[in-house]
């Protein structure tokens, strides 16, 4: 009896081994590619990534993970320079703002999709129409609703007509729009196209095993030239320690988001750092009732918090201080004055507002694990404020609940939030300092009028003047305690040429082996 059951178990094991046969081969192939044979290593790269894409469909899921992966397959019309954040023409050669509601784009000729179809004005129209068509359920539609129509002027020219002035059109196109192949999507349907994408990008799709890996192959006919790395694999490893082990063991050549306290372990020579366009700040909300409705109290808190110390002590200096609502990477950025660390002045200001520090009991909401050391920063802020006598309760929230709290104005007096990638002032200022905007924490009637006036301006000089003034006003109003630009930290294999981008993207086309 026992012999028989043992035999049965062995048979089962054997069968299990057999059924996986096909997978084993493909996986071994993968292992070799990432392995140590030098010749092959030059050809391929394995990138460890924290989360998987939700879909391979372009223009659908507003999510950093989805976008980063599929940008290797699809091209945008306009991209950003990886270091400066400036606009770079890609599939659009030139563009022009004809009038307040019309934008003109001249497109690149001679570009082919992976299936051989030609890229032209129809592809652009189709891609934007995909966003606008409600039945597609694209989450991008929310910020494209003002687009009325896309007009094909000729094979390589399009115009976008908007129902309202849309000064941030170029920003929208750069950040959101990827170009799909209309014929392909029509032919195979959205379901298939969502799993087997076709674009004009540097890499063609090979295989997507959800939550496991995405394998790509260089597109030999890429219009910008053949990619130097032939095979690219994004391996999805959600757990940081596992990602790090995979990197240490040589299975993975590159990954993003090293916690600041693990930099040493990886070795500083293998860590790449770039100041991200994502900023972290402490909102001093005047949208919830409380002492922070008084500008003097808000100023006092600015004087009582030593952001330089936080950056040094909690973040090991991985971050770049900001003093106003925008980082240097923004167009129309101006330098604003910093509130000096001055606890005595802080106490004075609080007394001016009719309180004593001991009267104040403030609540500070923070997410945990969303931004580098976020909840630790909150604790450190609390203790800095406590040192002048203000009582602070730190409330740590799960991320979804934190967002909902901010949106429904159900946070405490202060909350920690990040914002980005942020390259232009309109989105940041309108969304974070007006009464109705979901993630706003600040409202001032006069300022709000000025914000909307400035947003509608098309003249570049007037726009600059307007935003410069707004930045100074917001600092004067002490709407936030501005903290820093996050440092994006990457673990990079010693012989890999890779410069981290300010917009958090990982474009394999820009990577090569030494």
């Amino acid at each position: 009896m026992l012999k028989k059951s043992l035999l049965a178990v062995l048979m089962l094991l054997f069968l299990a081994a057999c059924t996986e046969g096909t997978d084993v081969e493909s996986q071994n192939g993968g292992a070799d590619e990432s392995g140590n044979t030098d010749g092959e290593q030059q050809e391929s790269i394995v990138i460890g990534f924290e989360g998987d894409a939700a879909t391979m469909m372009a223009n659908h899921d507003v999510n950093y993970t989805t976008d980063t992966l599929i940008r290797n397959i699809y091209d945008p019309l306009i991209d950003r320079d990886g270091q400066t954040g400036e606009f770079v023409p890609v599939l659009a050669e030139e563009w022009e703002n004809i009038d307040e509601t019309t934008w003109y784009f001249k497109l690149k000729e001679g570009v082919e999709f992976h299936n051989g179809a030609e890229f032209n004005a129809e592809s652009v129209k189709y891609s934007i129409d995909y966003i606008l068509d409600e039945s597609n359920g694209s989450y991008y539609r929310s910020r494209w609703v003002d687009v009325e129509e896309v007009v094909v002027v000729s094979d390589y020219e399009v115009e976008i007509h908007t129902s309202r002035p849309f000064p941030s059109m170029i920003e929208r196109i750069t950040e959101d729009l990827l170009i799909m192949e209309p014929g392909y999507v029509e032919e195979v349907g959205v379901d298939t196209a969502s799993n087997e994408p076709i674009g004009t990008g540097p890499y063609t799709f090979v295989e997507w095993s959800r939550d496991n890996h995405l394998k790509l192959e260089a597109f030999d006919d890429y219009w910008q030239g053949e990619p130097s790395i032939k095979n690219a694999e994004f391996r999805i490893i959600p757990e940081f320690s596992a990602r790090m082990s995979a990197f240490m063991g040589g299975e993975v050549h590159l990954f993003k988001n090293i916690p600041v306290d693990s930099v040493e372990e990886i070795g500083e020579d293998r860590v790449g750092e770039v100041p991200s366009s994502r900023i972290n700040y402490l909102a001093l909300s005047n949208l919830v009732d409380g002492p922070l409705e008084d500008v003097n109290v808000r100023k006092a808190i600015n004087h009582a918090i030593n952001a330089d110390e936080l950056l040094e002590a909690v973040l090991n200096d991985y971050g770049t201080r900001i003093t106003g609502p925008l980082s240097e990477l923004n167009s129309n950025y101006v330098e604003t004055e910093d509130y000096a660390y001055d606890p005595d002045l802080a106490v004075e200001l609080i007394e001016e507002a009719g309180y004593t520090p001991e009267d104040l009991t403030l609540t500070l909401d923070t997410p945990s694990g969303r931004y580098p050391m976020d909840s630790h920063i909150a604790q450190a802020i609390a203790s800095q404020l406590q040192s002048i006598g203000i009582n602070v309760e730190v409330q740590v929230n799960e991320w979804g609940n934190h967002l909902e709290g901010v949106q429904n104005r159900e946070t405490g007096d202060m909350f920690i939030l990040g914002w980005g990638p942020a390259f232009e002032p309109q989105s940041t200022i309108e969304n974070l300092f007006t009464e109705d905007a979901p993630y706003s924490s600040f409202y001032d009637e006069e300022l709000e009028e000025k914000i909307f006036e400035t947003n509608a301006l098309f003249d570049e000089d007037a726009r600059f003047e307007g935003y410069a003034e707004l930045q100074h006003d917001l600092v004067e109003q002490a709407a936030w305690v501005p903290l820093w630009q996050q440092a994006d930290l990457y673990a990079i294999n010693e012989s890999l040429n890779f410069s981290p981008r300010v917009d958090e993207k990982i474009n394999v086309f820009e990577i090569s082996w030494e």
């Binding site: 299990a16 997978d23 929310s142 969502s194 095993s209 320690s241 063991g249 979901p438």
Partner: protein, 305 residues
């Protein structure tokens, strides 16, 4: 017997129904997910519009009613993020989870039963004490920690095995052992005590007195008789292994249902979570259902109750 089967089957349905209901309301406690899907600069009207489109503006009981009506027909809706069929996405992941669970079960049995038998046979020797001690430790070690330790030793330091991912036998070894650790510990202890129980029985003493050789005494008479309760435990553990591999799957990036559920919970992709719970509840309930029937078949006393 038929009566018994029908009764147990109704219980299966009730279990699945209750599991879905509890999970439906529990995940709603985390709030409305609409904003997580939209860009942060989406205006308020847009958020409202999507909320309406996704049905989250309606009263909870109405949402629940609709969900149940659709669920009964096998329709769990579409993924909120990607728009694909939720149940389909879950079913796609089942093979990977089955593979891991069955492999872990087989490994646990192969290791645990001989160890349990030996422990019982050499009761109160050093071997037995170490064995029992280790199995207590094995049950107490959290498997995410054990998994990370294995990754650290075998993938990062020795570089024998891949740290994560799925597909081949080498990818399976670490997650299988991580997952099997708990079952091994349980099985060892259970086999040992079941064996001890039987070894103390009169008929064993009698056959010993009659001069039966030790090996056949242990293997033929004792083990066979203690296997029956072990089989029940195995059935129960298989359910746990199939449904409870979430942590192991996340640590090893194993592309199974557990990973999908974990990811979907973080993303608030409710339809996928509910479809996943549905499948796991059914598997769990059906395995128990089969175990019950087998038991009733073997032991008629249970049927009478």
């Amino acid at each position: 017997m038929l009566d018994f089967i029908v009764k147990r089957f109704i219980q299966v349905i009730i279990v699945v129904f209750l599991a879905l209901t509890v999970v439906f309301f529990l995940i709603r406690l985390s709030g409305d997910p609409t904003t997580l899907f939209l860009p942060p600069d989406a205006p308020r009207e847009q958020i409202e519009e999507y909320r309406e489109q996704l049905g989250f503006n309606r009263p909870l009981y109405a949402q629940y009613g609709d969900f149940m009506i659709d669920a009964v027909q096998g329709d769990f809706g579409e993924s909120l993020r990607s728009g694909e069929d939720a149940l389909g996405l879950v079913l796609q992941r089942m093979p990977a989870t089955f593979q891991l669970a069955f492999a872990a079960l087989i490994v646990s049995l192969l290791i645990a039963i001989p160890l349990g038998v030996l422990s019982a046979y050499k009761r109160n020797t050093l071997f037995d004490r170490i064995g029992v001690g280790l199995s207590v430790v094995g049950q107490a070690i959290p498997n995410f920690w054990f998994g990370l330790i294995l990754i650290f030793i075998f993938a990062a330091q020795l570089q024998f095995l891949p740290s994560s991912g799925g597909g081949s036998i080498s990818h399976m070894i670490l997650p299988v052992f991580t997952l099997a650790l708990y079952s091994i510990s349980r099985f060892v202890r259970f086999t040992r005590s079941a064996m001890l129980d039987v070894l103390n029985k009169d008929y064993i003493r009698t056959s010993k007195a009659a001069g039966a050789p030790t090996s056949s005494l242990v293997m033929k008479y004792a083990l066979r008789n203690s296997l029956i309760p072990i089989i029940t435990l195995v059935a129960l553990d298989l359910g746990v292994l199939l449904g409870g591999a979430v942590v192991t799957e996340v640590v090893f990036s194993w592309p199974g249902v557990g990973r999908l559920l974990h990811q979907s919970l973080l993303n608030r992709d409710f339809p996928i979570v509910l479809a996943g719970v549905f499948i796991i509840a059914i598997i769990y309930a059906v395995i128990n259902f089969i175990a019950d029937i087998l038991y009733a078949y073997v032991n008629p006393q249970i049927r009478v109750k």
